[in-house]
């Protein structure tokens, strides 16, 4: 996986989180972000970002990280 590929996805998730940040408490926003990713992202994008939840250095904001953890759980449950 190229660095730029994951960087792109991180940028996208952070942008979504930032735009939803005033929608409510952090947990609520994280849930909305994960729902958005689940609804609109293709499986390779979801899988790639989910694979990186343990990586502290990829630059996910706190809400984005929460959202991606939730997304990973959804992916795993499928």
């Amino acid at each position: 996986m190229s660095a730029s590929k994951i960087e792109r996805l991180v940028k996208m998730v952070n942008q979504i989180s930032l735009n939803m940040s005033s929608n409510g408490p952090a947990d609520f926003v994280a849930m909305q972000v994960s729902e958005h990713l689940e609804k609109f992202w293709s499986p390779p994008m979801k899988n790639l970002i989910s694979e990186h939840i343990a990586d502290q250095n990829i630059g996910l904001s706190p809400i984005s990280l929460k959202a991606v953890i939730e997304l990973a759980a959804i992916q795993k449950a499928k």
Binding site: K5, Q15, L18, N19, K39, F40, S42, P44
Partner: protein, 948 residues
């Protein structure tokens, strides 16, 4: 709807919309018409034609020609029937010996200064003057041509599409009035007095030099051969006509394609077309010549690599070749390594088939459409707040609007026929608020001055929308009862807390938006309290990193003021291309099936699986930008692109070109070898709208028929090409006519369940939803409740774009369109429309130009963070200091070399409208432009090898 050629019916004066009826007798015939109807129109409706010259039903009655005189029982003299309105019990006589004598005398005077060259006149057989002379029984002219006359008056042939021959003018003023009343440009006048009176364009200029916008309204209105299409002069009178729908912008004008055999002689705006009601613009009316342009490619072509010459092949070979390469790619790289992009220029049936082929033949959901790069935020924003991804009104609804907001749209350039309606309403007194970085024409044009122009800094729309809502809430101007009855209460209360915060006040947001707080407050009060408020918006709203947020902000404003669910109000996205609404409706996005139903919905999937006989993927596919990224990453290797020129129209050209070069099999289906096709391995020849049957859905959700006027030049309409490819991939598609595709759409899509070609023929057009509940369609949406039930006030926090001006890139570039050109210009550049706009230029404010030593017409380099291009400078105060502007109609301009791949957070719609740039004076084209020229030359040479 093939018809022998007949001029469209003309009732003489406009219809009255009164609900009170009046009964009178005309020549003994009892006629009942609405109060306010003219005697002339009542007679027409009763089947009695009164001769006339200065009257036509698209214009208010004028009463100048004195031909339409009648007798009315109990009244003295001979009143003009066009200016006399009906009264109850009125008894009218249209024929008598005295009337006949008067009419002949008047007619004789007209003809005494009119050339008697009827047999060689271009409108012979289609001339109201000729007809009227016959109707009044004129047999001789006593006055001769010896005296002073106008017979040698010089023609004005400056306009590429029509000729002005003043020797044939009868000074009825229909052209002048059409320019004023129908088009709203006021380019024509009657100059001089008495015998010297003449029709004059502009300040006694030629038509081409004047402010004439070449809409053709004057030509339509002219009762003689004074204003005549050059195509009629060259080819003669048409012999049959076909009613069809324009393939340019999202207004969706209805036209009669007037034909001689398979040749279009003229396109005339169709009076019964609900979107345009007999009006047109320079594109739809005149710019159809591209259909038979020499650049058309009509044979399929293939090649191994983009450095190889093209080889012309049969449809069978091209389709088999494509199918084999796609299958091989999937075998090697996986099922999701291929995809397709469909086009809003194609019909509903065609885009439906493309997405069906992807989902059933490719076995994935990698289908996206060009609406991704224009109105995808509209889909997201309106679905979230109101429950349906569509505009809420009819265009005619604007006639009931009291306050109109035009935001991020430039209707006089991009949606000109709607703009004429809007201007008419504004002249009647409706108020106007323009929210746009530029001083668009509507801000100040003849007889129109915007009440407020809020010159928002590019990228800060959301602050303006939030501030408008803030003022309305904090001053208690909201529609309390409407909100209580129709919107989600808890969400509204949460939103009120958000929007009432001081950070959304106009005084605070002014620092971001540059919009003076006092103007913004006044505009908010006007919208909230001025009566029916209608919002019209365009790509200046959607093509931002917060495009979806802005759309939700607009919906919030409309709900807040109770301006949804009736005539005269609403939220109206002005769609850029002809079938943006339709392509979205037809399931062209990677996450949803036709009718905006998510692919993860099991019941929906099962419905389609039963019909299509396959198992469908439950996961979203790739969006267009994802496809480009995946191609560069090596994961995406095959693309079928129908009717869309992504190499020119999509942002960050370097990135797009890199993606296209990385694709192993790029299939382009188009009418020309467009910029994308220069990177292609398979070219499938496309068909224009004149060569196929189908439907388009305009910005009003109006489904209108597209009817074939000539056989497809390549032998296949686009839907047939797609069907052939799908079958080669193993699908089982067998349609004999697009009507069968529409039947399938109706079967599978609840909002279309009542739509059929038969009903479209009966009703003319249908606004969806059309089903058992609304069998004739739905002109106004959300009447009693919102589609989602209760309206949802979305939180719309302002998040500044990352694309910011700084010392290195101090100016903000925004982009748009011009009237004469359309989108990437593939069609209009191949017509005489290029006489108005031969190149894209850079608009720059005099202050910014002076600081850089730039004069009007200089070559200027435009450098952004991602690229550079060079254009000529247009120094103008249409843009404010700090903002520059260009159009993107010419490939060589490279407008998208400088736009970035920033995009809307929710939909990835590109942020075309904000690019930080520096401008400097230069002496040569950019390195990209030099490369583009060289690549273009090489590709055209490779094309020539296929043709010879």
């Amino acid at each position: 709807m093939l018809e022998f050629y007949e001029p469209q019916p003309d009732f003489g004066t406009p219809q009255s919309d009164s609900e009170t009826l009046v009964t009178l007798t005309i020549d003994g015939i009892s006629v009942t018409v609405p109060e306010g109807t003219s005697v002339m129109r009542a007679a027409s409706e009763g089947g009695v034609k009164i001769p006339r010259l200065c009257a036509t039903d698209s214009l208010k009655s004028f009463g100048s020609c004195r031909i339409c005189l009648v007798e009315i029982e109990g009244r003295r003299g001979f009143p003009a029937s066009c200016t006399t309105t009906v009264t109850e019990g009125m008894e009218v006589r249209t024929q008598s010996s005295e009337i006949g004598k008067l009419r002949r005398n008047v007619m004789e005077l007209y003809i005494s200064d009119h050339p008697l060259d009827c047999l060689t006149c271009p409108t012979n057989g289609d001339c109201e003057l000729q007809d009227t002379a016959g109707e009044v029984g004129l047999r001789a002219v006593r006055y001769g041509f010896e005296g002073e006359n106008h017979l040698v008056a010089e023609k004005d042939e400056s306009n590429p599409y029509f000729t002005f021959d003043p020797s044939k003018c009868i000074l009825c003023s229909r052209c002048v009035r059409a320019c004023e009343e129908v088009q709203g440009t006021f380019a024509l006048t009657i100059d001089g007095r008495g015998f010297d009176s003449k029709v004059s364009a502009g300040q006694a200029e030629s038509f081409m030099e004047s402010e004439c916008v070449s809409c053709g309204a004057c030509v339509d209105a002219c009762p003689t051969a004074t204003l005549t299409e050059k195509s009629i002069i060259e080819l003669g009178k048409p012999e049959h006509s076909v009613v069809t729908t324009c393939a340019y912008c999202g207004v969706g004008c209805s036209f009669k394609a007037e034909m001689k055999g398979n040749e279009v002689v003229r396109m005339t705006p169709y009076k019964d077309g609900k979107a345009n009601e007999g009006h047109a613009c320079v594109k739809g009316r005149f710019a159809f010549g591209y259909t038979t342009h020499k650049d058309r490619i009509t044979k399929p072509m293939i090649r191994e690599s983009i450095d190889d010459p093209w080889r012309e092949v049969s449809w069978d070979e091209a389709v088999s070749y494509t199918a084999e390469r796609f299958k091989a790619i999937q075998a090697k790289y996986g099922r999701i390594s291929i995809g397709a992009i469909s086009s809003s220029r194609c019909t509903n049936e065609e885009v439906y088939l493309v997405q069906k082929m992807v989902r059933t033949g490719f076995g994935n959901n990698n289908i996206d459409t060009c609406a991704r790069v224009c109105h995808s935020p509209t889909g997201f924003g309106l679905k979230t707040t109101l429950g349906e991804s569509a505009g809420t009104q009819t265009f005619a609804s604007v006639e009931k609007a009291d306050v109109v907001i035009v935001m991020g749209a430039n209707p006089t350039e991009a949606h000109p026929v709607f703009a004429s309606r809007l201007k008419r309403r504004l002249r009647e007194g409706a108020k106007l608020i323009v929210i746009d970085p530029r001083q668009i024409e509507l801000v100040r044009s003849p007889h129109i001055v915007a009440d407020y122009h809020l010159p928002v800094r590019p990228g800060t729309n959301v602050t303006v929308l939030n501030a408008l809502a803030h003022v309305i809430v904090n001053e208690g101007l909201q529609a309390h009862d409407y909100i209580a009855e129709r919107c989600e209460t808890a969400d509204f209360e949460k939103w009120v807390q958000f929007i009432a915060d001081e950070r959304h006040s106009p005084e605070h947001t002014e620092q971001f938006s540059g919009v003076p707080a006092a103007d913004l407050r006044a505009a908010a009060r006007l919208y909230a309290t001025g009566g029916n408020g209608a919002i019209f918006y365009g790509l200046g709203v959607t093509e931002h990193s917060q495009g979806s947020t802005a759309v939700m902000g607009i919906a919030n404003l409309a709900m807040l003021t109770g301006n949804l669910g009736r005539d005269g109000v609403g939220v109206n996205p002005l769609r850029g291309q002809n079938n943006v609404q339709g392509s979205c409706d037809m399931g062209s996005f990677p996450h949803e099936l036709p009718g905006y139903r998510h692919v993860s919905n099991v019941a929906t999937r099962q419905l389609f699986e039963r019909e299509w006989g396959v198992t469908l993927d439950s996961e979203p596919g790739l969006r267009i930008p994802n496809m480009f990224d995946a191609a560069i990453d090596g994961d995406f290797k095959g693309l079928y692109c129908q009717g869309e020129d992504i190499a020119q129209s999509d942002p960050n050209t370097h990135h797009v070109e890199a993606a296209l070069k990385a694709i192993e099999c790029l299939v382009v289906q188009d009418i020309f070898l467009n910029e994308t096709a220069k990177f292609a391995h398979v070219f499938l020849p496309g068909a224009t709208f004149l060569e196929k049957d189908g439907t388009f859905t305009n910005a009003e959700r109006r489904i209108s028929r597209v009817r074939k006027t000539m056989p497809p030049l390549s032998g296949k309409a686009d839907w047939e090409g797609t069907m052939a490819l799908a079958n080669a991939l193993g699908c089982n598609m067998h349609y004999n006519h697009p009507s069968e595709i529409m039947d399938e759409i109706a079967k599978l899509t609840p909002t279309f369940s009542g739509v059929s070609y038969k009903k479209l023929d009966e009703l003319g057009s249908i606004q969806w939803p059309c089903n058992d509940h609304t069998p004739a369609g739905t002109p106004i949406m959300h009447v009693d409740e919102f589609v989602r039930g209760k309206g949802f006030f979305a939180i719309t926090e302002y998040v500044p774009t990352e694309e910011r001006a700084n010392r290195k890139f101090p100016l903000l570039l925004t982009t748009g369109r011009i009237l004469s050109q359309y989108n990437v210009g593939a069609q209009t550049r191949r017509t005489s429309n290029s006489q108005w706009h031969a190149e894209d230029t850079l608009e720059i404010h005099p202050h910014d130009a002076e600081e850089r030593g730039i004069n009007h017409g200089d070559w200027v380099g435009i450098q952004s963070r991602v690229g550079q291009t060079v254009l000529h400078a247009d120094v103008t105060s249409r843009v404010k200091p700090g903002v520059v502007y260009t159009t993107f109609h010419h490939p060589v301009s490279g407008a998208n070399v400088i736009t970035t791949d920033n995009s809307d957070w929710a939909t990835n719609c590109p942020e075309y409208k904000v690019t930080a740039v520096q401008i400097s004076k230069v002496t040569a084209p950019s390195s990209w432009q030099a490369r583009q020229k060289s690549f273009d030359t090489q590709q055209l040479q490779l094309l020539e090898k296929a043709r010879h």
